[in-house]
Symmetry: C2
Subunit: 454 residues, 2 copies
């Protein structure tokens, strides 16, 4: 009786790229359930640039798009040994269901991991999540009703903007510069929106080695942001996966270290160890933490015991701080290669100078649009993420994000050289015709470019 | 500047049992953010019985409450070897971010795992999730607006009821008997609710070895349910973690095998292999699948690569079907022990006779309330889950769920003997005073008893 494909739901034309066709009008005509989705589902749309990234994954293309940590630098043999020991000796516990809040042994270690940032949390304050992406989802779930407002830097992390949108919240951007978010603009925006009757629920902020902007919030400004939060009863969501990946000494104090009542702090092992276990965490005031745990149990029952125990074993038996230093030196070398190549090759262009993390934020010459240029860049065998993905308001078209975390220094140099060629060609077109071909600048809305762009 | 505990948010009185105090009025007074939560958050409440289960985990208590698979029966040395090989040989891929839909190698194997149930899916139809709990959350997320109706068996899986409630949906129960859900009652309920203008979004159904009822939907009724779904354009959410754990031969055809358009089928490795990786899956019509992938990327970016590759390695290199048979024989022996002990000891009580899975559903003598009796049972060193947890409408107080999956046959026999003593004592009280002390029967609402009761 069963048959494949089902005759009355032929699906979309590209079954191999699952989400590529979602939300498209053409797909809806074929969907038996089209009238029955929840209202929020209309906010979930796939990015048009996904198909391009499928091409960008070909080996001949230098991808400066993805935010994947460089895992070949991990001590895989040592990890294999400790993982085997974990299964053989504690497998019946490590493979079992666990606590919704997360394993206590790991929560104790997370407290130590955060200590260099001045955070003096208790293990009971910590909720382990399925990557910090799940923490973003859970915080949104417990705080955001449709129409609520989230404040976020301009630009802001695309994965967070997608979550806020999926909860039908409205994102209002606050400008940043080379010292990060601008506190005066934050306060002005907050006061203006609240005076207009808007329910501003929290500020979303990436303080260290910002994704995508590559800047770090100065200590002075951290104090100002916290003072604003206190003055106006504003919750701050401090998303901080890159804190330990700074190239110039110790991390700055986290905003959570300045105020434990107004700040939810998110951390992750995805960038300092490995993302494949999907283990991140949130540190929150107790009442908020209780609700995060309940929301997480509803969403997934409990985070992966195995991943938590594997990370706990790694932290307690391997020189993990030494390994973070290996990553830092590797990424520093690649950042240097990218900045040198940008300076050598890119005409009429500006960019940020990250002191850590994975990303450089590039602003193209006037008249150029990064999204319109992307197909030509991929044809020219280099890929990046167009800046519009990092704005909820349709702006950002003149910018793009480059990642230096995964390719070697040689590939980075070659990739930037190729990008420079594409930019020069675009500039020629602009000078001839006044505007770039196929420009789609200003198209509003947050796209979902997929997990490979985390 | 930081301090712990923060002076103005002292939290609840029991920091060690994180969620225990959530939602309580006392906790709210101390919560700075109490006025700012989303409306849905008021639907997330912790169970009053959680504190009891903390006691029930003591070794002197025979817990017949939890749904934990008996992992000491796993071949841990073989799993240690294959996991070490995975890390050493493919670690840089297995520890990396992966696809939002899930790894293709595992989706191909999942198709084979479902074949004994008559399901002929394509790997593109499969979405890998963080346990099937996340699939419940994602389906709810894309279909449920506040006020929408979900139909569910009476009783129904507590973890699903909690998800539907968290999306502010209304659950309407449909009675089941020893052959599972009653199709005539399903159709009557559906027609009545739709005539009353209710938006009935889907039927939630556990067809095999039901949690908590321990019954299986007959083939005849599967055909009737599918026919009703077709006649009335009703989506069926077939939640099927126990299909391969039947004691009497091959599994019945899944409803998904009878109709690929009207059924979303959920599966899991949690009961046939191990829950600690958090890997389950959904099989859905293409347009629905696209939306599930987008929703999952927003929720967690991607499921665990490591868990998926570890399971793929296990399925392809170990005799996993032989291991499922080991589990089946073990659970059959324990089921037999439980049924024999119930027949030998329990007065004036009825129960179901499961043909597989983990659970027996017990109905107490008239006048007894399982929730009110639980503190005395735990004092008597035996624990169970009160039946009210499995109803959204405040009924079920006379019933309870017993699990035979984890304790040995000897412990099960001893646990049931202790339970019988508690029931006899309660009956004495009822006969003397007419009603049990401290009865809280009829208290409405779904509690969240935590992941250990999955």
């Amino acid at each position: 009786m069963s048959q494949y494909p089902p005759p009355s739901s032929p699906g979309d034309a590209h079954p191999a790229s699952a989400a590529a066709g979602a939300g498209a009008a053409a797909g809806s005509r074929l969907d038996r359930w089209v009238g029955t989705y929840a209202q929020r589902t209309s906010s979930m749309t796939a990015s048009e640039i996904r198909a391009l990234f499928a091409v960008a994954n070909r080996p001949e293309v230098v991808s400066l798009a993805g935010g994947m940590p460089y895992l070949p630098a991990l001590p895989l043999d040592a990890i294999a040994d400790l993982t085997a020991r974990l299964v053989a000796e504690k497998g019946a516990k490590a493979l079992q269901y666990g606590s919704g809040q997360g394993e206590e042994v790991l929560r104790e270690q997370i407290v130590e991991v955060m200590r260099p940032q001045g955070i003096t949390a208790h293990p009971d304050d910590v909720v382990v999540t399925t990557g910090s992406q799940q923490a973003l989802d859970l915080v949104s779930r417990i705080f955001l009703d449709p129409g609520d407002v989230v404040l976020a830097e301009a630009p802001s992390y695309v994965g967070a903007l997608g979550v806020f949108k999926s909860y039908q919240a409205q994102v209002e951007h606050v400008p940043l510069d080379h010292d990060g978010l601008q506190p005066a603009a934050l306060e002005e925006t907050l006061v203006r929106l609240r005076a207009a009757g808007k329910r501003v629920k929290f500020l979303y902020c990436v303080p260290n080695h910002h994704n995508p902007a590559g800047v770090t919030l100065s200590l002075e400004r951290r104090r100002e942001v916290v003072a604003i939060a206190q003055r106006h009863d504003l919750l701050v969501l401090e998303d901080d996966p890159y804190a330990l990946l700074g190239f110039d000494g110790d991390p700055l104090p986290a905003m959570r270290s300045l105020d434990a009542d107004h700040v939810i702090h998110l951390g992750s092992f995805s960038k300092t160890f490995a993302p494949g276990y999907r283990v991140g965490w949130a540190v929150a005031p107790h009442a908020v933490r209780d609700k995060l745990v309940l929301a997480s149990e509803s969403a997934i029952l409990c985070p992966t015991s195995f991943g938590q125990f594997a990370i706990a074993e790694y932290l307690s038996t391997y020189d993990w701080k030494g390994q973070v230093k290996v990553f830092r030196e590797l990424y520093r070398e690649r950042r240097d290669a990218m900045l040198a190549a940008l300076a050598a090759h890119l005409p009429q262009t500006t960019w940020t100078h990250p002191g850590g993390g994975f990303y450089v934020w590039v602003t193209l010459p006037d008249g150029l649009d990064a999204k319109a240029m992307l197909p030509r860049a991929v044809t020219g065998r280099v890929a990046y993420v167009p800046g519009g993905a990092f704005y909820a308001d349709g702006t950002g078209g003149q910018s793009l994000r480059l990642s230096y975390c995964f390719p070697t220094a040689e590939r980075i140099t070659e990739g930037v050289r190729r990008l420079a060629g594409v930019v020069r060609d675009e500039l020629d077109v602009v000078q001839l015709f006044g505007s770039p071909a196929n420009s789609r600048a200003g198209r509003p809305g947050v796209d979902n470019p997929g997990p490979e762009l985390a």
